[in-house]
């Protein structure tokens, strides 16, 4: 044996150092692996590169990519830089990877890769293709786009958002938007919040952001840096299956529990791996989330567990509300000589004052006061009154959660601080998803948990949610922005010319025809297009019905930058040459742009664009990246300069609202009757709905660890452990027995919009009355993850008008707000 204790220990230390060293040298230096010669072994010199995994799962892991002779042979987790751009110490952040990231080798070399440009030769959706050249393909695109624009107007060409990537050049903020703006086309929402991910951001903006202030750019959405959860004393996972879908983040939650005894609490209609590993699980009726929050607040008020000082200083709680108009009382209307200001009641001298009155000592946060001939209460009083009916009994009635559990959670919320909430986008997949978030923020505000380490309400946060990148000039080199056409507005634009005709579309890494809700309608609209082009690395359901498909690169084959869901800048070098005839989207766009007369906006390399977007080396670079050098960017994953660190939004308690305070009383929602977060039943998935008799099951389509949306679907490694790649419907044995359904039976899931067939999986993990089919499986010509159809055959596109108040988050696909019936299919 060759071991010595010393050697082993030194060796161990060298591992850490070795990886870090490789990190530094990652882009250039071989890792000196000796070659072997026999057959069936890898020979040649190995080079190791660091990159970021950009495939829209918000994990944003760092990958070490091992390459031998131009082929990827190994992917492993990468270390993070230990410094910020300006050289301060960055928080400790563990290397992270998951089964999907490891599977990127198989994804890159998948036989399902689109290898060449293809033109449709049969009917749309017939799967008949003819290989063509890039020259022919890009000419076709340019010609068709020009024809459509001449006939129907510039905006009739729609560049669809890249939901499949979070990178900068080719991702949710990518080059497609630049193309749209220079050709005057319309494009999907560049906030990356299209489809089902904008209801909770809208709710967040109601309370924390003034959408009318240009400085807020139409609304934004951010959260706490993931390592900030280490400071929490309790963490509530609200509709958030972190342990399955954001696996590396779960480590942080467990580290918090181990270090601080942090309580982990799961609120979910399903008993998920997260629920199983938490200290408490509240099995909630889907869509009754706001009722539970209102019930918690009622308890907090009754037991005076709110944070009076915080409410007084940082929220609109003390401001008086006009009882007739429900709007704020204005000081200049009711106090002689006062300015246009909020009105408060000073407890010290029992007088009404303007909020900015220097003589104010202690504004009352609760109570109703005589103002002229009105009895006006504080906003907090209005909230306390509203939630007063949400007794534990009534809340149990609405949520199906035993009242003792409701009281237990309410006690925790009122007494444990700081308390953090992690919210999954599942909470956004509801018509009233905005209200869910409004309610959570209201509760966090009255318990003093906003803008504090270990508090807040977080879905994600990272470089992309900061001001680090000059996206406006990247998207709009002419200064004229593209027209935004939301994904939810696509069908009407194509089929009804509302708000204007759309006749051509380019989908870039966006599986719109399968992942968008109300799929039958979406496919109908897509088939009605004059011209449709899809860039993807896989022959997706969207590519199936295109006129032209272009072979795109995976994240390993092109240069980019990733800065999502964490505050590191992860440079993504081109590690291997594009496979087959694939091209980066930037290169594909360049060819089209040249043929449309706008090639001058696409002359630069990705490296140059990255420098421009970062204002690299310029004095006007954003403070988060000021002083960054190209060498720094390309040699380590450097942390942005954030204040504080770990990043916490509104840590300085400067809220960009009209009042400068947390507006849990939302005046602009008065016309919608939603100024306070009173529970409202789901638009469809409610027993109060008349449809409920016909379709008595709430139909969820949640995420699985084996996929990121519809990516990684056909990979054999993952399918071997994912039921052979066959989708299934989770159904409680109670609901199954009633329908004579046994485990493994084929069932039809249906409602008035559509249906699907899939095998039943009987499991106690799902609440009776609820069924779930993991979304993202494929229904393409060649690959059927379900026996027939897809969950989105059943979902709808009901948009909530109130959301339109927030320009960047105006509509949302309420995937989960969906009723269905399930019946046995006789085989």
């Amino acid at each position: 044996m060759e071991f010595s204790r010393r050697k082993f220990l030194v060796g161990s230390a060298a591992t850490v150092g070795g990886v870090a060293l490789a990190d530094h040298l990652r882009f250039l230096q071989p890792a000196s692996v000796s070659a072997a010669t026999p057959e069936s072994v890898i020979t040649g010199t190995e080079t190791i590169y660091r990159t970021g995994h950009s495939n829209n799962c918000d994990g944003a892991c760092g990958h070490m990519i091992h390459v031998v002779d131009g082929r990827v042979t190994e992917i492993g987790p990468a270390h993070w830089g230990t410094k910020t751009v300006s050289g301060a110490a960055a928080p400790t952040f563990h290397p992270r990877i998951c089964l999907r990231g490891l599977s990127q080798i198989a994804n890159t070399y998948s036989p399902n890769r689109i290898k060449y440009p293809y033109r449709r030769v049969g009917e749309r959706g017939s799967g008949k293709w003819q290989r063509i050249t890039w020259e022919e393909a890009t000419t076709l695109i340019a010609t068709n786009f020009k024809q459509v624009q001449e006939k129907y107007g510039k905006k009739a060409v729609w560049i669809a958002p890249y939901t499949g990537s979070l990178a900068l050049i080719e991702g949710v903020v990518g080059a497609g938007f630049r193309l749209a703006s220079v050709i005057g086309a319309s494009a999907g929402d560049s906030e990356g919040d299209n489809e089902g991910d904008s209801a909770t951001p809208a709710g967040w903006n109601y309370v924390l952001v003034d959408p009318d202030n240009p400085a807020n750019g139409g609304g934004f959405f951010t959260g706490h840096e993931s390592v900030d959860f280490l400071s929490a004393k309790a963490i509530v996972f609200w509709a958030n299956n972190v342990a399955e879908t954001s696996i590396p983040d779960w480590r942080i939650m467990l580290d918090a529990r181990d270090a601080n005894g942090t309580q982990l609490i799961s609120v979910d209609p399903r008993f998920t791996p997260t629920s199983a590993a938490s200290d408490a699980w509240l099995p909630i009726r889907p869509g009754s989330d706001t009722a539970l929050i209102d019930g918690i607040m009622n308890y907090v008020f009754l037991h005076k567990l709110y944070d009076a000082d915080y409410i007084r200083r940082y929220t609109v709680g003390p401001y008086l509300v006009d009882p007739t108009s429900k709007r704020w009382l204005r000081a200049n209307d009711v106090l002689p000589g006062a300015a246009n200001d909020f009105v408060v009641y000073d407890e010290t001298d029992a007088t009404l004052k303007a909020a900015s009155d220097p003589s104010l000592t202690s504004a009352a946060i609760l109570g109703t006061y005589q103002v002229g001939n009105l009895r006006a209460g504080t906003a907090l009083q209005a909230l306390a009154d509203m939630v007063s009916k949400y007794t534990p009994e009534y809340t149990e009635h609405l949520t199906d959660i035993p009242k003792a559990q409701i009281v237990s959670l309410a006690k925790t919320w009122g007494t444990v601080k700081p308390l953090a909430v992690r919210v999954g986008f599942g909470l956004s997949h509801w018509y009233h998803g905005d209200l869910h978030m409004q309610a959570l923020l209201t509760l966090q505000a009255i318990t003093g948990n906003i803008g504090e380490h270990g508090g807040g309400v977080t879905t994600f946060a990272g470089g992309l949610t900061t001001t680090a990148f000059d996206l406006f000039n990247w998207w709009n080199p002419t200064g004229t922005p593209y027209a935004v056409l939301e994904p939810m507005d696509f069908c009407d634009a194509v089929l009804k010319d509302d708000p204007y005709p759309v006749r051509a579309a380019w989908f870039m890494i966006d599986n719109f025809a399968q992942q968008m809700s109300d799929r039958n309608q979406v496919v109908k609209a897509m088939k009605a297009l004059d011209f449709c082009v899809v860039s993807d690395y896989n022959l997706s359901a969207t590519a199936d019905i295109a006129d032209l498909v272009l072979p795109a690169c995976t994240y390993i084959e092109k240069t980019d930058l990733l800065s999502s869901n964490n505050f590191y800048l992860q440079y993504m070098p081109k590690i291997i040459e594009p496979l087959f005839e694939s091209k980066s989207d930037l290169d594909a766009i360049r060819l089209v742009a040249q043929k449309m007369g706008v090639g001058r906006y696409f002359t630069e390399t990705p490296e140059t664009y990255l420098k421009q977007i970062l204002h690299l080396g310029k004095s006007d670079a954003d403070p988060t990246v000021r002083g960054l050098t190209w060498e720094q960017l390309t040699t380590e994953a450097v942390h942005l300069n954030t204040d504080p660190m770990p990043y916490v939004p509104f840590f300085n308690k400067q809220f960009p609202t009209k009042s400068g305070k947390i507006e849990f009383y939302v005046e602009m929602l008065v016309p919608f009757g939603q100024e306070l977060c009173e529970h409202q039943e789901p638009i469809e998935a409610s027993p109060t709905n008349t449809l409920f008799k016909k379709y008595p099951l709430v139909f969820l389509s949640t995420h699985t660890r084996f996929r990121t949306h519809s990516q990684f679907v056909t990979l054999p490694w993952l399918n071997e452990i994912n039921n052979g790649g066959d989708g299934f419907l989770e159904i409680n044995p109670k609901d199954a027995t009633r329908r004579n359904i046994s485990d493994g039976d084929v069932v039809r899931v249906f409602n008035d919009r559509g249906d699907m067939k899939v095998r039943a999986r009987l499991t106690e993990a799902i609440k009776p009355g609820v069924v779930n089919c993991y979304q993202g499986g494929w229904d393409t010509i060649k690959v059927k993850s379900y026996i027939e159809g897809h969950p989105n055959n059943l979902t709808h596109q009901f948009a909530k008008p109130a959301q339109a108040l927030i320009p960047n988050f105006p509509s949302n696909a309420a995937y989960y707000d969906c009723l269905a019936q399930v019946e046995l299919v006789r085989e």
């Binding site: 591992t15 000796s34 069936s40 070399y109 071997e720 106690e764």
Partner: protein, 243 residues
């Protein structure tokens, strides 16, 4: 030989904290990658189980993933990653007629692929069901050999080769090719939750020693007397439902 006696031999053990494991299969996919395991082969599998349930005969691990025990809403769910337990008193070693399977001094149980005659006695003897036989020509995911990719010899014995030939038994090697150069087994490196710890049990200060001596980590089926070098920290917390 006298020289070797002066060399320090560590006692390699792995500890899996089942409080941390969430059944994500990252370790298993990592294992598949680093060892270039053929389609259908899993040296490392994650069983869906209840907290602190020991198990021997593993069902196909990919069946009923995440299906809990109990009746809604009183449920239990835990995960148990199972690969070779690297037993100090390994039944597989005892039954191997050609000494292809052997226990290395550091505790790793290895197979010399050049000696294995494919009799599969070891598979019958292993109480943990972790060995896989190469019945035919292996199929692989497209893209070529992945992972370590080279032959690795332990004292002249071929204990790793990227494509194991037809007719041999294969299983987890504790990543000997990695630990011998001071790296961690790949499942430990890739585990996103920090649920796996590898180290030297001779070193009382090592994390593994602490987890075993003070953290209550236990062996799988200790009553069998196999004395594995893989330990599991039992689940301490369960879902609390007050009603």
């Amino acid at each position: 030989m006298t020289d070797e006696k002066t060399k320090y031999v560590p006692h390699h053990v792995m500890v899996v904290d089942t409080n941390r494991c969430v059944g994500c299969w990252t370790c298993a996919v990592g294992c598949k990658e680093i060892n270039n395991e053929p389609l259908g082969f899993w040296w490392n599998r994650i069983l869906t189980t209840a907290p602190n349930q020991s198990t021997t005969a593993a069902p196909p691990a990919s069946e009923n993933i995440d299906v809990p025990r109990g009746v809604f809403p009183d449920l239990e769910l835990a995960y148990l990653p199972v690969a070779c337990q690297h037993c100090n008193d390994a039944p597989c070693v005892k039954v191997c007629p050609v000494q292809a399977t052997y226990r290395r001094d550091d505790g790793a149980v290895l197979i010399d692929y050049e000696r294995c005659i494919g009799c599969r006695y070891c598979m019958a003897a292993c109480p943990y069901g972790v060995r896989i036989f190469n019945w035919g020509d292996a199929e692989y995911a497209p893209g070529g050999i992945v992972g370590y990719g080279k032959n690795y010899y332990d004292d002249g014995r071929l204990v790793f080769t990227p494509e194991r030939p037809k007719g041999v038994v294969e299983k987890c090697t504790f990543c000997v090719e990695r630990i011998d150069v001071g790296e961690e087994p790949f499942c430990v490196e890739v585990c996103p939750i920090g649920a796996r710890v590898f180290g030297d049990l001779n070193d009382a200060d090592s994390e593994v020693s602490q987890l075993i001596n003070e953290g209550g980590a236990v062996q799988l089926h200790p009553e069998l007397g196999t004395d594995p070098n893989v330990y599991y920290v039992p689940v301490r917390k369960r879902v609390v439902r007050e009603s």
